[in-house]
Point group: C2
Amino acid sequence: MSQGNDSQTIEKILHVAEEHFAVHGFFASSLRQITRDAEVNVAAVHYHFGSKEALFVAVLNRRIVPFVQSVLCGLAQIQATKQVLLAEDVVDSFVHACFELIQSEDRNAALFSKLVSRLMLDEYRQFRELLAAQNENLATSLLAAFGQILPDLPPQAVRWRMHLTLSTLFNAFAGNDVLKALAPATVVNAKDPLQVARYVKPFVVAGLKAPI
Amino acid sequence: MSQGNDSQTIEKILHVAEEHFAVHGFFASSLRQITRDAEVNVAAVHYHFGSKEALFVAVLNRRIVPFVQSVLCGLAQIQATKQVLLAEDVVDSFVHACFELIQSEDRNAALFSKLVSRLMLDEYRQFRELLAAQNENLATSLLAAFGQILPDLPPQAVRWRMHLTLSTLFNAFAGNDVLKALAPATVVNAKDPLQVARYVKPFVVAGLKAPI
DNA sequence: GTCTATAAGCAGATAGAC
DNA sequence: GTCTATCTGCTTATAGAC
């Protein structure tokens, strides 16, 4: 019990760092700005986490475990009550997991999608390896589920449908907006998760069930 | 005619900078690395472009103008021969424009999708404004085209379908791969544009035509 | 137009007092 | 566990010789 109020410090750092990493990315975020906003000392990051990279991994790991569990639980529940798994079911369990993050008390939990979008885009190899190690379960279970809902497609096509579905969902919930880059006048409200869910669900479900 | 071989220098800088910005992002790229790889002097960037930000804008502008023209020409051609515009037509004209970049002599042209993906994700406000000014034509024409192929949907839903379609297409051609982040074993070959086109086209066409 | 040298600042990381 | 002070290195940008 030799610790002081370090858990507060750790939480404050994780909270602010998550925001900075999600909004500005890993390289554009600086520990100095993060610790200033979190109102902790600069040295605290190195004391508690060891390095900037280790802090980034900690930020990701805090969200990914509950997220994966949420998706897998949702899938298991549906599979227990239904005999035939539908495309809608898989998409719903994923969307539901996103909403659990969004409606969490910790409002920054909603930034998880944006962090995952960054992992897709950037060349964070060292981080990917860490994540991949933790998520073989999710990928295996999801792939099995996608195989069930698309029994007529060859394995390669099933993987592509899964890839496109997850990319589209993560990017949609990340609140990214192409139209904003192309023409601000025609913008949609990509930041509102209720809107996102309403419009993205029919889109990916239809994409999943598309004929070959 | 007082210029020496400056056009070569400018081209070399643009070429290497595009690669660095697309792969590592704006902030993680440094002018020193870019000029080292381009085998030009560090000061050349400031002499020819003025600043790192101005270089980034120049890199984007070099691709966006021909891309927009390509999409709009494709659309106009289809509209000239057909009376009824289909979802497939709009997707095809977009995919075709991506392929023109990919099959260009300048192999780095293919990185354009990755750059746009970054613009969606990152908070490059100053760059967005510059791009938006140049692309009102594209957005207006595309929105009209999407309205034609989805006559039964309310305007809000049409904007969302367009948003989801363009996001999915740009991200797909960017070669990003969620599965790689989640589980390397189940990976698809997201870097091969032929594969991308083959699997993304039916996906987004079905998403576009989804019932409400 | 190209180059060197240098300015001015911020980054991550660490040592050591308290 | 917290803090200050500092080290080392890299960044963008510029001034001025050639």
